[in-house]
Each structure stands twice: as C-alpha cells, then as structure tokens.
Symmetry: D3
C-alpha cells in the first residue's frame, strides 16, 4: 500500500511494478550502530539518517516528486571504532557486497535512480566507490548526499564525531536518548595544530577513533542544544528536497 511515507517496503510486488518508473528516486538511508561517546546512543547516525530521509521523501512527495524510502542500513562500515565495544561494524568487503546486492535488486524494479542519504562518515568513501560500481554493473544513476561535518566554535573545525552538530541534532530528534550530563569535549589538539596533515588539509590520514580519545568522541558536544539541532536538520532537509527534482532528471549528457 502506498502510504503517505512512501515506504518502498509497504508496497506489494504488483505495486512495485505499477508505482515505480525509470525516474523514481529510491532513497537509501545509511547510518551506523557505533560508539558515540558517553552522551549519545549507538544508534545516532542511523536515527539521523532515517529521520532525514523520511522527511525528505515526505516533503518531496508533497511537492509532487517521485521519491521512495528504502529500509535503512544500520549495520555498516564502522571500523574506525573497531576497538570499542558496541561498534556493530561490517568489514569493507561485506558492506560493499551488501550494497552491490541491493543495487542488483533495485535494477530488477522499474526504478533506475538511487540516492544514498549517508549520515555516517565512515561509509562515505566506500559509498563513493559504490556509486560507480552500481552505475557500471547495473546501469543505475547513483547519487549521494553525505552529512557534512559541521563544527561548533570550540571544535576548531573538528566536529567529526559525536560533537556539537550531531549532538544538537539528536537533542532535536531523540532528546530521550541523550545524556548531556556526561558530555565531554575531546578535540585532538595535535590535529588542530598540524599544518599539513588533517581533516580538510592537504594530507589526509588514516585513523581509528581510539587514536584520539578513549571515548571515541572527536569534537565538543558540550555546547549542543535542541534549537541548533532543529535548525541544522531543517537546513539539511531543505537542501536535499530542493535537489530532488534535479536528481530525478539528471543526465550528465554526452558532448
């Protein structure tokens, strides 16, 4: 049954064939179940990815666009937290093959456009590899929007994980799961101070969350609040909804 939420998995087989077309945009939320410090739940990225995707689909549909919400991927590539309990991570190869299989399954429906709404940084690079893999193997048009790390002032650009923005977003979406009383700043000074190596600098580096702090946090959640969270969330939804029509018709076009 086509519900107001346009959940793909609410459809029957027959509806898959009648309701979808080549330009339907399948929206796949990708989050994570992984350590997010003492103040946030393991489900943080999954919660945000699902809320964001659901809202985007709902609002796009209200505007007459043909988007569908796929069931989210929660178990993904959280190997940066491999040394902390609670990281429910898939090896790169397992996650890769999972997405390949999902791509093949989508290619067996009428739809040909797939948008990843990714809210876990640890997935971004591999999903970029997969954008092309699915394009090449199944002739899907593939897209990704990743939650950009947005840093608060005290984070010196390093609101990478469980910091100001992410915590604010959770205070907006699921305040019952946040415990600000144990939130602590963990901004790795060497990374802030480095000239060449670092996030967004010339030289990228490989890291595990435990390289920085035992808590797995990289950022400063202490100044987070729900209002900021609501704003960040709303901005993100708005951006993606605005992009949706272009995604639905995008064609790189041959010279």
């Amino acid at each position: 049954m086509i519900g107001p939420d346009r959940r793909f998995s609410d459809l029957s087989t027959a509806e898959v064939e009648s309701a979808l077309s080549r330009d339907s945009v399948m929206v796949l939320p990708t989050g994570a179940i992984e350590p997010h410090g003492p103040h946030l739940p393991l489900s943080t990225d999954l919660t945000v990815a699902e809320a964001l995707s659901a809202e985007v689909v709902r609002r796009s549909a209200a505007e007459g666009h043909d988007a569908w919400l796929l069931p989210a991927l929660g178990y993904t590539k959280s190997d940066e937290h491999a040394r902390l309990p609670g990281a429910m991570w898939l090896r790169a190869s397992t996650f890769f093959e999972t997405v390949v299989d999902i791509g093949a399954a989508i290619a067996a429906t009428p739809a040909r456009r797939l948008l990843f709404v990714n809210c876990h940084g640890g997935n971004s690079a591999l999903l970029e590899v997969l954008l092309r893999e699915l394009r090449r193997r199944f002739d899907l048009q593939t897209f990704i929007v990743s939650a950009p790390p947005i840093a608060g002032e005290s984070e010196h650009g390093l609101g990478i994980h469980a910091g100001w923005a992410e915590t604010s977003m959770m205070l907006h979406l699921r305040p019952d799961l946040v415990d600000m009383s144990v939130a602590e700043s963990a901004v790795p000074k060497p990374v802030v101070d480095s000239t060449h190596v670092g996030f967004g600098k010339l030289i990228k580096f490989g890291w595990l969350s435990t390289d920085f702090a035992e808590s797995g946090v990289v950022g400063d959640p202490t100044g987070a609040n729900a209002e900021i969270g609501a704003q960040l969330f709303e901005t993100r939804v708005g951006e993606i909804v605005a992009a949706l029509p272009e995604i639905a018709s995008f064609n790189p076009g041959r010279i």
Copy 2:
C-alpha cells in the same frame, strides 16, 4: 540510555560495558523485504520479526530477564523470489558474511548469547549454518527460533508464504498494509498430491516461488483474519518468553 524497550542501539558505549554480561541474551530479528503476493507488503517478514522480538524482549524484561533487542536485519536471503521485482535479496555469501561480522561485533561486547528470531523461511537453513559458525569462531552461545509454517485448513499443509497464518498476523499487526480484496489462494496441487517429495516429506526439494505461481504466494490467505493473527502472535510471544530463562542459562554440559 536503557529504555523500557531495551534496545541495544539506545545504549552508549559505556552502557554496553556496564549493562551487558555473559548471560545477556541478544535478540536479533531477521525478516525479509520480498514479494508477499498482491495483498501483503514487501515488509511482511520484517514487520513480524520486529514486532515479535520487541514484544519478547519487553515482556522478558518485565519478568526480570536480561534480553536486549538488536536492530533487525531486513535485507536478507530472499533468493527464492529472485525472479520477482521487489525482492531485495542478498546472495548467500553476503548474508553469511554479514552475520559473521555481527557475531564478531557481539563477541566484542560482554554478551555471549545470541538468539535469532527468524520470520523468513528463506533464512532458516543458512542461519542454522551460522549458529555453528558463530559458536566455533567467537565462542558465542547461539540460538534460533523460526516462525513455523502454520497452515490453514484450505492450505493442505502448504501455508508456506503469504498464506493464512502470515496474512492473519499482518491483519493483527499492520491492517493498514493488507489488502484482502486482492488476496488469492495459490496452493500448488502437485506438491499437495506428491507422496515422497515436498515440504515436510522424505525428500526436500529446491524451489523458487515462481515455480508455483506468478504471485509468489504459496498458501491460501483468503480465510485470514486479525483475530487469528492476534492469537498466533500471542502464542508465539508466549513460547519464546517462556524459553528465555533457559536460553539465558543453557549449557549443553559435558558428559
């Protein structure tokens, strides 16, 4: 935060270490996103698996048992529907490696007991293989309860897929997603009539749902109703809740 639902993914890392112990029972619902005829949604098995697992954990916790609900697996091994659109299936190897990775991740927490609540028949055999794989590789104690195919009278024992019992359960859990007006019986007479080959007979056989009927249904949903569904669901919950204490302490015991 430990909520009343005891969702594992609501915990913080620190809580994973403090709240779980060797005899905690991690409950992993395994469903499917796959064709369920014209009258049921793709999400049928996932819906049932999640509802059943959540209720089992909730009620067990209320009785003082230490069970935790893991995020469900929705994309699983639905290769029997590979020739129908909407089957979001993983290859056997992909599903196998996914569960191996989840097993490894559980073994990195204090918990050592894992219960699969499986509501998709297509997963059963591979999950049985995995019970031992996780036992051997990670020294987990592993358990599975599978939704038994329960057949209505008109099904001649063949309420395998999208039939009387499953449809009733969905009428109980998510009536908004069921369209009984298009429900049709599809009981494969040759399988009913065979003497040696068949479900529960001496000789098992390999099948695709499309071997039987274009709809992917194997059973007769026409007589389904919500009351039966509520009974079946309640019975199942009761059985698993009753088994929980034994699962939490089970030790095959050396001679």
Copy 3:
C-alpha cells in the same frame, strides 16, 4: 561404459551425451571424514552415504528408472568437530563453492535432476541452501534426502552422532571397522532435560561436538547390532527407491 552400477564416472564423454536425458536423476552421496568416537572410523558417514546411494541406484535401475551414481563427497562441512583431530572439514564457503561448481558441471550435461543422499547432519542445512542456489543459477531440479537421526531407547531422542543407529548401520556394512569394546554412551543430560532448547525442540542451538563430550559422540552406541543396522539400511534404501520415480518426474506445477 555403462556398468550395472550405473556409475557416472564410468561413462565416456560420448556416453554422457547419449545416456543421460533431462529426467535422469544424478545421485550425489555426501558423507564426511570426521571423528565418530572411539568405536567407529572417521569414514562412517561416507561409508553409509556411498553404500546407500549405490544400492538405491542399483535397485532403481533394476526397476527401470534412470538414476546415476556420482562420485561421493567425503571432505565436507564437519566444523562441529573442528576441535578434534581427524576432522577433515571444509569451511562453509569452500563446501558451498564446491557444490556450486558440481551443479554447473551437471548443468553442462543433458541431466537436470540432482538428488543429494546426505548422511552427515553437519551438511544438511548448507545443502538446503544449495538446493535453491543450484535451482536458481543453473535451472536444475534439486532434491535431498537426509539420514534422519534415529534414536535408540537409551538415547532419549539424542542419537545424533555415532550412536545406536549409526553404529548398527556400520556393524552391518563394515563390521571390520567397528570396535564395540570401546563403545561408550555419551548422552548429554542437560539437553535431554531441557524444555525449550534442544534437537527438535522450539529453540535450536549452535553446538560443537566437544561441547558435549571429549569423544565427539552424542548418543549411546552400546546397544547397537548388525541386525538392526541391516533393517535400518534396508528401510532407508526402500524409501528412497520408492521415491525415485516421483523425483524423476516431479514438477511443482504453476497454479
């Protein structure tokens, strides 16, 4: 050359093409080389699988049915004995790919029907997965008959491995390889006494043979004798021979 035993591997290539047809039933015995306690040889399951399959093919042929005996698989999935010397076990993935390759090879002959005669419990679940894998990938009709665990009285339903039935069968088939003087009962009382968890109970569990006893035995071989073995063997042969014509013509039939 087509011998009285109808061994596939006795054929020449030309004969493969002339003697086989779509409805030929290829019979593949699957056993194991694995610990069977102090009184039985490693080859127990392989011995039984080969003897059973050979007799089934011979007798079916005598009745005019078109069955062929494939070379048996002896190295299979015995991971439940991984911690005992002498278990010549393949990982699940290795065994899976082996059977996939054999399926592909059969699909390159005129034959389209494959019957596994499986006498090793550790293979059952994975072979069930493979029934469908071969059906889907190579359009073979696939079947399996598994040796059911038959328990003697003193086994309380747990004649799982190297117990009364298996030992009796070996006393019938290869008495020279059995040493009853060292046969000892090893029936795991906790499993007998459990209410919910156990073989054939609501909750299945993952186990290694060494979870129960150092000997790897799960059952009570002490009362075994050749006469019982002959009866069990004869019964089994009879059942499969009776099923053969149905296997050769089975068609689940579209509604």
Copy 4:
C-alpha cells in the same frame, strides 16, 4: 581400525592421535572426473591415482614405512575440458581452498608430511602453488609426485591426455571400462611441428582440450595394451616406494 591398506579414514579419532607422528607421510591421491575420449571413462585419472597411491602405501607399509592413504580428490581442476560435457571441474579458487582446508585439517593431526600423488595434469601447477601455501600457513612439509606424460612412438611426444600411456594403464587396471574399438589418434600436428611453442618447449601455452580435437584426446591410444600398462604402473609404484623413506625424513637443512 588400522587395516592392511592403512586408510586414514578407517581410523578412529583416538587412533589418529596414537598412530600418527610428525614423520607420518599422508598420501593424497588427486585425480579428475573428466572427458578422456570415446574409449576411456571419465574416472580415468581418479582410478589411476587411487590405484597408484593405494599400492604405494601398501608396499611402503610392508617395508616398515609410516605412510597413510587419504581419501582421493576426484572433483578437481579440469577446466581444460570445460567445453565438453562430463567435465566435473572445480574453479581454480574452489580447488585451492579445498586443499587449503585439507592442509589445515592435517595440521590438526600429529602428522606433518603430505604427499600429493597427482595423476591429472590439469592439477599440477595449482598443486605446486599449494605445496608452498601449506608449507607457509601450516608448517607442513609438502611433496608432490606427478604422473609424467609418457608418449608412445606415434605420439611425437604428445601423449598428453587419453593417449598411449594412460590408456595402457587403464587396460591394466580396469579393462572393463576401456573400449579400444573407438580409440582414435588425435595428435595435433601444429604442436608437433612447432619449433618454439609447445609442451616441453621454450614457450608454454594456455590450451583447452577442445582447441585440438572434439574428442578431448591429445595423443594416440591406438597402440595401447595392458602389458605396457602393467609395466608403467609397476615402474611408477616402484619409484615412489623407493622415494618414501626420503620423503619421511627430508629436511632441506639450513646452511
């Protein structure tokens, strides 16, 4: 039970531990089930490998050497015949992992020496790779003896497959499976005449049996007879038996 044939699979687990030692030589026959022309059975290589290995073990044991016969591998790497029906071939990766698993299993017994008696040319190169793989991963001492292609006069050095030597050997071992009335010579003249490229020449080349002849034969079986076969077989057995003591004590020795 330790029989006169010293079959490893006749042992019980306990006997594996008591009867084997570091210098036991495990003998693994590797054959093939594959096309051997119109006059020989698919099982040719397997038949020879098993007969040869069994005789070597028997005779070595009679001379007081500690050799054990493992169950033969029949399904192996026959990809050169992939385009002919009846080739029951494993992909290179499947065969590789199979032998790795067997190596791991042997390493779990007291034995540390493994001799492949290989009678299928298509396995030789991959088994050489595996000699080192098992040496490195499991610290086994590994050895191989391969049936050398012996050419009859009319074969111009090309008695590669199903030719004079192999046919003679089968006439000695299993005359009931040979049909000399359909034996035909198939010696590929271009290979005979080439100067640089060819078997045993400077440049080796990749080939499929069907590159040469539809029958899959490469050689001239027409002059084969049982007497020659007996001689070839006896010579081979003698050579390996003579080598056995050196294999059992071989130590490359550090400088």
Copy 5:
C-alpha cells in the same frame, strides 16, 4: 644499495632492516593505465605519480628527511573507463586486496608510515577506505595526498580528466607523448549548469567517462602548455616536501 633516489627496491634485505625505522615514510605512487583522450597516453596518471613521488623523495632526502620510494602501482581502479579500450583496470576488490597485501608487507619491515601519492581520481575513494584498513589491521600510520582536479578557465570547474592541468603537466614531463593537434574540449554542459548535482556540489553522482563523451575526456586541454605544467608540478612537489616532516612525526595524540 641506497641510491640518491632512495628507491626501496634498490635495497637488499639487510639494508631494509638497517636503513628503515619506525618513522621512515614509504612513498607509494598510485597512477593508472587508462584512456586519456586522443592527445594523451594511457600512462598519464602513472607518469605524473612517478615523477611527483620521485621528486618528493629526492628533495626530502636532500633536506635530511627519511622518505623512500616504493615501486608505483600502474594497474589500478579505472572502472570509470571500463567501456573504452585501453583501460587496464582492476576490480575494486582486486585493488583493495593488492593494497592490503602491500600494507602487510610494509608492516614486516621496520617502517610504520605509508604515504600514497595518488594521481588518479578513480583511486581516491578506495584508497581512503584503505588508509583505515591498513591502520587497523597493521597498525601503520597511513597518509594520502591526491592530485586535486585543477580547472582551467574554459573548463568551468570541470578539469576532471585529461584537461588543462593534466595535459600541461604531461607537456612538461613527457612532451614526446602528447599530441596537441588532436586535443579537443569536452566539458559536459549539463554538469556545469546543474545546481545541486555535480563535482564539488551538494550531491555527488556515479559516472562513467563514457557518460560524457566518447573520448573519455572531461575538461578542456586545448589551452594547456608546458610552462603551466612546470608550475603546477613544482607547486605540488613543494607542498608535499613541506608536509613530509609533519608526516614523519604526525601523531594524532590522545586527549
């Protein structure tokens, strides 16, 4: 022998142990062999990566830093050109395992720091995945510098492949391999004009080079010249040489 070029592969084993230390920086050039339009050779990325890395190592060594040049990887992940002849591409999994193996091999030397100098955009995402994989599995400190796509004026930000910057660089490094007479602009207007989807825009997308133009070019090489190439090259070398000391001592530092 330690040459002025500090090529790792010029060392003997003994020198590997004596000359390298934990803070040696191993520099691994990663290029590609793939279509670069009608005017550039397949080797373009490999040529640039090797030249850049060699110069960086040479100059760093001259300044007293401990960098070593590894043999370049030329066959890499060029799947975006999979539909053009001359793309010598590895599947993602093959390239992944290759780099894993190289990481393991480096971990067997005294060195613990690895810098990828990547000049092929198609490798960037997968190498980012590998940065972490090698960090986690082998405890290496891993770094990457990627050639940023620098666009000429006429390219509207799309100097992605075989455009102004890359062509200029080749005119500087290997003018003998460039044929400017056939250089043609291929700037995909739809991508330039899109608001949301595109390189460096909110929504990234999966593409094959043949989605844009038959030539595989994405950019405008027509204004390229050697002087610009020399400047771009020199700038890049300077940046990396300046970063080298930080790479050699970088430690994210625990809070």
Copy 6:
C-alpha cells in the same frame, strides 16, 4: 604515441584501436620485489624481466613483428620469502585476480595474444594456471616464457635464487646495485645430496627460502661476473625474439 619502444601505455585510446590487431603480441614482464641475499637488490627479478621484455619487443619490432610492451608487474607472488623483511608479496588469490583483470582488459582491446615474460620462479606455477584461465574466460591465446634456473658449477644444479646466473645478469644490467663483497654461497647440501626429492627430481617439495638459509639465497653467486651475465641475457633475448613470429601465428589446430 607509438614510440620506438612500443610501450602499450604510451598509446592513446584511439591508437589502441588502430595499432593493435588480433595477432598483436602483448608482452607482460612479471618480476618480483623480494629478498635476493645481501648482494642483490629487492628489484632483481623485476629489473631482469623489464630489461628482457623491453629488448625482446624492441628487437622484434625492428624485425617487423607486432609486439607491445605492457607495464611490468613488480608486486607478485613472493610468498617463499614471507618470513624475510622486504618481500613485497601478494597472496596467491590477489595475484590471480590481478592477472584475471589484466586479461579481461586486454580482451577489451583488439589484441588476442599475451606473452608473460616471467623472471620470478615463485610466479611460474600460478601463471601456468592463469594461462588456461585467460584462455578459457577471455578466449585469449596465452603464452609464457620463464627464466630457467641456470646453475653455475659450484651450485650443483641449485642456482635457484640470487645465485650465479641471476647475479651475473644483474652485474651486466645494473652493476651499481650489486655488492659482490657480501655475496656468499648458500647451496643446501641436503637438497644436493637427496636422491628422490628436490628441484628437477621425481618428487617436488614445498619450500620457503628461510628453510635453507637466513639470507634467502639458494645458489652460489661468488663466481658471477658481468660478461657471463651479458651472454646469458643475450641468449635469452635471442631465444624469445626467435620465437615471436611463431607466437604471433600459433594455432594448436583442430585435428
């Protein structure tokens, strides 16, 4: 641009299509980066493979033959040196898949003939497996010439690695990388003295270089000199150049 060296990677895509034909011979040098004792560099095999291949292509082209030089493979299968630092080895499966991918890429060009010029013994067996794999999967005509181990007098047939011939060749090609002052003989006497087991004897065996000597040398480099090296090199070049026309036209020919 087609240079005098006929390097494939110097071509543009368009040239790949115009310059190559079905009978072009693609020449792929396969070397290694691995321990070669205290007197030779890690790059020895790669150096020789590249020099040899380049000279063969150059001279063949001068004689009017259509050969092309592919970029060499340096990271290959050096697992025999896995226990020495500096061995940059790929697992068998990684090397296998690499060559499969290269084969697929060649099959996407007009060329159909591939010649491996292999100068690392550790690759030989796996490349032989690959000859057939590429023949079967991509219908390429595949060829290999391997550097034969040539032994000096003092080596008793064991000039396997870093010995007289290889050292001489390097003294000819790259004297700057050889340090004869530390060259030491390491001829494993047990292997020389064995009757049945050994290189080129009836029984082949699995070995690691560290089974023989800590240096990884198997041979006696002390008598090596550049003149011998020049002769050996020249002889080898001559042999392959002479074979080239036959390789370019070789057709095993159906009977």
